[in-house]
Symmetry: C2
Subunit: 158 residues, 2 copies
DNA sequence: TATATAACTTAGGTAAACCTAAAAATAATT
DNA sequence: AATTATTTTTAGGTTTACCTAAGTTATATA
């Protein structure tokens, strides 16, 4: 499997700490599907770079720096996942893709997608467009629907 | 800089071949910002795995397999870039992000985004939603615009 | 055509994250 | 408390894409 970045270690440590206070070597190894020996090694690196405190034989906890990074990553992940779900991607795949790209995409892009999600979820925005997109996605057919011809719209006519 | 995948090598070879018939070591080295010696090494791997023909001291050309991959990657890249541009990301960043995530994202996701782009570009689809999103993105303000109240819409009223 | 220059390859090494196997520390059980 | 079981670490290797430096081949110029 692919090599894990510092960000991925920080993420799983954060997740583990939600349940356990301290993230132990084995917890992280299981989460990342990596050998415990590799985790020990990474704990060293993580601590050198200021993301964790490491107490030998007793796992790590995130520093403020580490926690800060984790929170940003988590938000980023949720934004991306949410976005994918809005356009109709299955939850599992949405989550998976969010995982993979959250480490690569520019902040500007995430910001824009965050706004997109925010907007799409707003009840009183004109959501016909999204509905029509989903209809197109499912049927392959375009709904002819211009502002002046609302009556012809098969989804929104009442 | 980050390690290059086979896919990235295939992409730049494809791009070079559009101009030159044969992609030489140096061309690829310059494109990927990598040492020529590394490229020679990769040419070996690429050829072992059936993506290129390699003639010593005279560069590589893509096989059908390699070209097939390149074409898929190119389409994927364009879809992603296009999508980013539609939601308002600058061309440069859109291109950059497309580059980075085109290797990671599920095919289902790319398909969905392709449809999204296709739909958004269709003239006779109801594009108010996208317009309203952009307005929101710019101003932070929601446009109250329901199907029954078109007259209140500051963008679409005539 | 000889020679200088440029391009490419080979040989040998590095770094980073991974691994296995064995040793050490900690925790659990009798 | 002693022994067994589990967890963690250490030591030493592997892999992969990268590098530098030196040697080789191809190309361009005198």
């Amino acid at each position: 499997m692919r090599k894990k970045t510092i960000e991925e270690y920080v993420e799983v440590i954060f997740a583990i700490q939600k349940i356990k206070k301290i993230a132990h070597t084995n917890d992280v190894a299981l989460s990342l599907e990596v050998n415990p020996a590799s985790v020990t090694e990474m704990f060293g690196k993580l601590t050198d770079e200021g993301y964790t405190y490491y107490e030998k034989y007793n796992g790590v906890t995130l520093t403020d720096k580490g926690r800060g990074m984790a929170i940003i990553l988590k938000k980023r992940h949720e934004t991306l996942k949410h976005f994918f779900e809005i356009i109709g991607i299955d939850e599992k795949i949405a989550d998976d893709d969010a995982c993979k790209i959250e480490h690569n995409v520019h902040p500007e892009t995430v910001d824009k997608l965050r706004k997109f999600v925010e907007y799409a979820k707003k009840e009183n925005s004109c959501n016909r467009w999204l509905d029509h997109f989903k209809y197109f996605d499912k049927t392959g057919e375009f709904i002819i629907c211009t502002p002046d011809e609302d009556l012809d719209c098969p989804i929104h006519k009442k």
